[in-house]
Subunit: 552 residues, 2 copies
């Protein structure tokens, strides 16, 4: 590769929400930013998670100097356990992010030797030819950073996931001042978060939620149950503050919420007077109007504390009329029906459920249009690549960049796997690397993942019919009647008759061939044709038909 070219390759996170990963390459050095997972869509049945394809990095692994992580959300760190076995390079992350990665890697014992390095906003470090200075950004998890990366061709800024909050609850805003200073003379390239580029205006400050929580908790006559993300530490702080303000005790339910609160208290991310947080066992000692219960389940996750409560399946907590439940989160796209079902069940048991459509009990963690324009204005990039977002988000973000003065032909709307080469003259997309989804379903699924997923979708549409035929090995003749089993196809008495008729039809169809040597593939075709037509006529359904011929 030409030494005077800076190469930018988004490996994941473009044209989709999740599995964020991007490579920056110059000469003999590659750095990687983030290594996230994506949660499966509804057209990926049975898939647990989706990770980026790192085959390009594996091929060049001697050049890869490290993976720099911008923050500790799953869509930025979740692929690490799957990637490190093939790409054993150091990981650079700020304190909380590092701690969260350490927990994740500890769960897989073979990764205990991973090299985790801590980075700090304002303190630059070198990776090969690159000098990197992290800067604080505000996001829905503490210790998030963006990156200012000095390259031989000039400064590259990566925003990470960010919003701008002038009154952040933890006091750590996006460091606009440092950014303005470093970028004063302009920047070669800006890579910026597009997740909420659709939204006009400004994203409200996290502290707005505090006001709402205070109002609701202050007015509540009974218990207040609050569900939020365990990583949304600022929100938890505001919940603790509101509880203290109204002389309520806080009970934390669920392992992940307990773990993170304990860790955040120990490390100074949270502060609360002694005696406010109590064990759920002590719940019965307090009247309902002195109780706040904090838990996960804001996304309707089936095993979460709130969903168990909603399903009357939690050992400690039953909803009683007079309870107020606050859903302090918005449903992530795809989770809407799970969340709605959970809320409906809570209402059914007499709770008053307050959610983001009814009151400002949540603000999101990404920049809206005016904030994106502010970033562009401060960074003054020559080249611009919108990252993190579905294709329309990237397009809309590009329009914003154009509106504040970035030249249209210096804006690159890229897709995963595209290679952008920038030299001292120009930037252009010069090729592609492999960038397919890698599916994890128990094991990492291989090249045939698409076949498997297609079959699963077919199976779920109209079910399956299995036909078994025995063939005499010596004579090659069909023995007896074929056997038919079905699942997910028909199941009434009428359905059983249809199956039985299908069986008779197959028997007849095969009898005609009695005097010829048997060709198994012909038998299969005959069975499938006969049954597909008959079943469709009878039921208007097209089950998958599988035949197995057994030679005996």
């Amino acid at each position: 590769m030409n030494k005077n070219k800076l190469r930018i390759i988004p490996i994941g996170g473009l044209g989709e929400i999740g599995k964020n990963m991007l490579a920056i390459e110059y000469g003999n050095d590659i750095i990687v930013i983030d290594a996230g997972l994506m949660f499966p869509h509804e057209d990926m049945p049975g898939v647990d998670i989706v990770i980026p394809d790192i085959s390009y990095l594996v091929k060049k692994k001697d050049k890869v100097r490290g993976i720099v992580i911008t923050h500790g959300h799953e869509d930025h760190i979740g692929a690490l356990p799957y990637i490190l076995p093939q790409l054993d390079v150091p990981i650079y992350a700020s304190k909380l992010t590092r701690d969260l990665i350490a927990v994740k890697l500890k769960e897989r014992r073979n990764l205990s030797k991973a090299r985790l390095k801590m980075i700090n906003p304002g303190t630059s470090f070198n990776l090969g030819v690159f000098n990197i200075e992290p800067f604080s950004v505000c996001h829905s998890i503490p210790d998030a950073v963006g990156l200012m990366i000095n390259t031989p061709l000039g400064l590259v800024v990566h925003s990470g996931d960010f919003k701008i909050d002038y009154t952040p609850v933890d006091g750590k805003g996006t460091d606009l001042s440092r950014l303005a200073q470093v970028c004063a003379k302009g920047t070669l390239l800006l890579l910026a978060d597009s997740t909420y580029a659709e939204l006009p205006g400004y994203t409200p400050s996290e502290s707005v939620v505090g006001e709402t929580l205070n109002r609701i908790i202050g007015a509540a006559k009974g218990r207040v149950l609050i569900a939020t993300f365990s990583s949304l530490v600022s929100r938890i702080q505001q919940i603790l503050d509101a509880a203290v303000a109204y002389k309520r005790h806080v009970f934390i339910v669920g392992r992940s919420m307990k773990d993170i609160v304990r860790m955040a208290l120990e490390n100074g991310y949270l502060s609360v007077p002694n005696g406010v947080i109590l064990q759920p066992e002590d719940l019965h000692r307090f009247p309902n109007n002195q109780v706040v219960i904090l838990m996960t389940g804001s996304q309707g996750e089936p095993t979460s504390a709130l969903v168990r409560v909603a399903n009357q399946d939690n050992g400690q907590i039953r909803i009683v009329p007079g309870d107020t439940v606050i859903m302090s989160a918005s449903p992530i796209p795809g989770n809407e029906s799970l969340v709605n079902r959970t809320m409906d069940n809570l209402f059914r048991q007499g709770a008053d459920v307050i959610y983001s459509k009814l009151a400002q009990v949540h603000v999101h963690g990404h920049a809206s249009q005016e904030e994106l324009k502010l970033l562009l204005t401060l960074v003054k990039p020559k080249y611009f690549v919108p990252v993190h977002g579905e294709y329309r988000h990237l397009c809309i973000h590009s329009k914003l960049a154009k509106s504040v003065g970035v030249q249209e032909n210096n804006i690159f709307i890229m897709e995963n796997g595209d290679i952008l080469d920038i030299d001292s003259e120009q930037g252009r997309v010069t090729g592609r690397i492999p960038s397919d989804n890698i599916y994890v379903d128990g094991l990492v699924m291989g090249n045939y993942a698409n076949v498997i997923l297609r079959d699963r979708k077919l199976l779920s549409r109209d079910g399956i019919v299995v036909v078994t035929v025995a063939i005499d090995r010596s004579s090659g003749k069909v023995i007896g009647k074929p056997d038919i089993l079905s699942r997910g196809f028909v199941d009434t008495e009428e359905g059983k008759m249809i199956i039985e008729q299908g069986r008779a039809l197959v028997a007849t169809a095969l009898t005609h061939r009695d005097n010829h040597p048997v060709d198994r593939s012909l038998i299969n075709i005959k069975i499938k044709d006969t049954l597909a037509r008959f079943f469709y006529e009878q039921t208007k359904r097209r089950p998958m038909i599988l035949t197995t011929t057994l030679e005996v």
Copy 2:
């Protein structure tokens, strides 16, 4: 049933969006309001549509005087073709609604004798003991009505689907004046639309969209493609008006849109100067800035015109850079990812796509909170039953009713199948009728629908493994090696090895039994246990395992 009781039974549409149907019964008379379908959720794989369970009505069919339809949307008329064969009663509907039902029934020839009667706002009619006066309501389809139903116990008002629009495009607003007059002395019972009870404030007027369309079409330099619902006639009128204002011709693509525009023009629901609407064949005769293309596909429906265009699969229309596409609709819950994918594909081909998050190119057709309070205030009901909506919508609507003075114990949050009995003293829920979902998948699915759907979901999760074993009929011994087939489970070389190892394990497991008489159910259990454990160890997946033993 006691003659002095008024019985209200929601058969569908409560706790869900869709399949609206409600029965009102007094003495020997039953009237039914609406007969809608519901589109399947993602946990109903392979299901085409869902309809209400009418077994209660069929049992009492001699009492059913008719079905009164409030408007022509599928969630209010879509179940008629499935219901009429069992419940052959007259159908009452306003003009457009009747015409839409007629088209639907004509497609099924056996229903050509259905008795379709036309009703008019302001003209009352009798059904048994009930006297019914329809009143105009504003909704996202013309000729929608609510119903004022005089019963021996007092006046019952059913809102139908409605919003309040003081500047309706077709000039037909919700008839608040007539409603106020008839309800002046108060009403026994109000049944009102809860679909958007979550939304504070007022739903904007349809005419707001006209302003946005004018602005966008006026500013567009190239073609403008607009997708909306074919039944949203007011929107189509505004699109035609904007096209005329900017001297553009309108080309209509797709059968359903063409059919409804033709019908609406013939019947005076739409008006447009001659020569504005042209055939798609003439598209090439006009420069891009004189063209508006109207089509369906706003929900990302795979076979719709817009989706074919987005997939470069439409014979007449290809996107060219400079095209503006307006999505003049919001995604119905569940359709978001289809809609997003469609928009992303349009952006990819260079279109500028404008959708409801970016500009007010759509307003919805249901009342928001202030409108619901206005209805409650004019109708002054003693009893209130929120209808049409998921459970939380019903709860929130009930709170609104309480806030404007309806007594809390006179508000009934009901579920499908609940029986509300009202006498001169009080109302109370006294029992239930059958109210399960009836699934249609080609055929109407029977009692085992839940088993079928459960199997389809299982099949889609980790696929299926089919094991075939031949048994000698006379000796009862297993013959040869078992055969194993799989779909949707594993498909790599490694996977094939796992299957082969499983086959060997089963063979060994069955050998142990060689000297005993064979018990087929024991064989099945043994095979399943052996394989389930082995496959889970190897793959962390749990495919459905089906065994078939063939006696030969």
